[in-house]
């Protein structure tokens, strides 16, 4: 073989200068990674102002989602709200209705946690059959960040919750307001009023300067631009908890208050947007698993469409309501593969097949599709989204 000129010849970068410091005071990914971006599916919604896009999970590894490519969902556009203009009101069944400024929030004792945020509609387009050809589109309505914020219970205690209070109603400052009712028990448990994600301020599209973090529960409840928390005796039954985010069963009745995101996993590579390009030999199969019920305890991988399963390797022990990365190191010599992953969590829940879900729920549930995903990998290394018997 000829010697590699990349090695034998002095390359420009080994001789000249690179960028000076401050070339990009706040850096963007290098140009060669310009395809690692959020994407949307235009036919899904009438308008990009009230719409959703998808995290490029096929191109990411590890567990933390960079804010710049973490999926966005707005109901009335991502608003610009300055910290100076930010106000948070606690009212309703409290001893003293209170108003906090942004600076006020930073004076309360704060916590930090890594949590996933998954839209209840993630994988929703796949109920009736394999539809979108890419992990970004089938499973990309999810991100996983390290949040810093004040426990909601601290703020509620400051206002003094009265004994008749059973719910909180939370809403945002944008025109959609996106109000949701949350049982007081959850509000006093692990809900965070967050102002930092992955160490820096929230991005505009994720609710700058303050959003709600509702661990393990559907993303719609993670109200962005949080402006008000009202303690009430009853659920408000807003648009987002009646006409949307309710799950219709085959007989026409619908489940409501389906808040918890069940255990789920997906292989991110290989996948349709991340085919095998390196030929035969060692192959790293990787993906991510998560559960709103608690920590992931294990992930199994099948290469034959679910006939045989083998345990994958977790990159780190699972933690509650956070993404877990898994790896399955194998050898591939051009075999046809039907790749699947199956998550298990600490409550003993096992990720179901699509057939199992349909048996209970029918085809029209839209939300909470946490079925096992199948990628068909052909001898060329190309992967496609398929549904198997």
């Amino acid at each position: 073989a000829d010697p590699d000129p990349l090695i034998t010849e002095v390359q420009p970068w080994a001789s000249g200068w690179g960028d000076a410091v401050d070339a990009t005071p706040y850096g963007m990914p290098i140009e060669f990674e310009s395809d690692v971006i959020r994407r949307n599916v235009e036919w899904l919604t009438a308008d990009t102002i009230s719409s959703i896009n998808f995290t490029p999970i096929h191109a990411l590894d590890g567990t933390i989602t960079p804010q710049g490519c973490a999926f966005e969902r707005h109901h009335s556009g991502a608003i610009e709200l300055r910290k100076q203009d930010y106000r948070l009101m606690i009212n309703g069944l409290v001893d003293t209705p209170l108003v906090f400024t942004y600076e006020d929030l930073e004076r309360f004792p704060r916590e930090q946690h890594v949590y996933f945020c998954e839209c209840a509609a993630n994988t929703g387009m796949e109920w009736a059959g394999a539809q979108l050809n890419g992990a970004q589109y089938t499973h990309g309505m999810i991100h996983n960040m390290e949040y810093t914020g004040v426990p909601l219970r601290t703020l509620l205690a400051e206002a003094g919750v009265q004994t008749e209070g059973k719910w909180v109603y939370v809403e945002g400052a944008d025109a959609s307001s996106n109000g949701r009712s949350i049982p007081l028990e959850k509000a006093l448990d692990d809900v965070l009023v967050a102002f930092k994600a992955n160490g820096e301020a929230l991005r505009k599209e994720h609710g700058y300067p303050v959003r709600l973090v509702v661990p393990g529960w559907e993303g719609n409840m993670w109200v962005k631009w949080l402006r008000r928390v009202e303690v009430t005796t009853q659920a408000i039954e807003s648009r987002e908890e009646t006409s949307k985010y309710t799950d219709t069963l085959a007989d026409g009745t619908s489940r409501k208050w389906t808040w918890v995101m069940d255990a789920k996993s997906v292989i991110t590579s290989p996948s349709p947007q991340a085919p095998i390009k390196h030929g035969h030999g060692p192959l790293v199969i990787t993906g991510m698993a998560w559960s709103g019920r608690g920590a992931i305890t294990g992930v199994d991988v099948s290469m034959d469409g679910g006939v045989t399963w083998q345990p994958a390797r977790l990159a780190a022990p699972g933690t509650k309501m956070a993404l877990t990365r898994f790896y399955f190191d194998t050898e591939w010599n051009g075999e046809d593969m039907l790749l699947q992953s199956r998550a298990r969590d600490e409550t003993g829940y096992v990720q179901p097949t699509k057939a199992q879900l349909r048996e209970v729920r029918g085809l029209n549930s839209i939300y909470h599709n946490n079925c096992i995903q199948t990628w068909h990998v052909n001898p060329n290394g190309e992967a496609e989204n398929v549904e198997v018997s």
């Binding site: 599916v41 108003v99 539809q131 400051e158 409501k256 085919p275 003993g348 018997s389």
Partner: protein
Amino acid sequence: DRNIAPMPDAAPRMNAEADFDFRLIASAQASNAAADGKFGIGRPALPEEVAAWDLDVAPDGTGLPEGSGDVLNGEEVFVDYCASCHGDFAEGLGNWPKLAGGDGTLDHDDPLKTVGSYWPYLSTVWDYVNRSMPYGAAQTLTPDEVYAITAYILYSNYLVDDDFVLSNENFLEVEMPNADGFILDDREESEAHFWTAEPCMENCKDSVEIMLRATDLGVTPVDEAAVEESAVEPATDEETTQVAAATPAEAEPEAEAEPASASIDTALAEEGEKVFRKCSACHQVGDDAKNRTGPLLNGVVGAQFAHVEDFRYGKTIEDMRDNGMVWDEENLSAFLADPRGFMKGTKMSFAGLRKDEEIAAVIEYLKTYP
């Protein structure tokens, strides 16, 4: 772990003797921080502030203001503010939400979920229209208009007659057809078999066949950059078609660079295209543009006021036209910054653009449709 301090769940208690300032604060909040462990951060919300923000309406009617509106008036308001997306009869246009119809479809494939067929509580309709509609101009309706729109949506669903008047008095009397159509989350019981101590690891199925392929549907967005880059992913016929279809759009910027439009700042116009999304719920531009809630805007820059012949304008703008007013950049800028301030009684419900750059950009964009 003894070396880790726990999260404080109450305000730290300072030694008041040691800190003169603290003594003042403590005495001012004697019933608060000192005694009950509160932090004393934030301030009481004033009644006017709570009233301004606490707008939600519960199923039992809590939160409904006094007021009323009838179906006929509702139709007028609906056509003005809602029909450009939801259709004149609440039937929904394109991908915008359908608010009427779908009765009896909930157990069908692809059920049609509307206010009539699906929504369990009328309070939700009132609440959402009041706080979040019209789209792009939320919180501009009066309570009576919201009652009227709600009455019209009920009428569109054949739930009330055309002489119906909805008010806070009779609100709870309206029966919603699907009020009993919901059950509480029952996954813990109905899906208990997903909690399996020992999931199957071997011989879990007799055979496996591919039943459906996403590529057969061909609805996945085509990533042109990735198609070009990827050597192992030859474009399928469908992809080729879509890429080919996309080519004319790519060629457009070149066409725009022709001498005729030399005076247009293309970069600014592109910014303006984004800003125009705020307008596009009501206004259209381009070859296929039609009057919607607002008039089509082809040729508006430089035109006299009320320039579209077959659009029903308000009296104010027609008077201004008769006085010789022209949509030059100065008038457009003033109107876009403060529609109601510039044109008292304008039918346009949009609140205005806050930034001068956005105004300049959207005008530049409108210039590209002479």
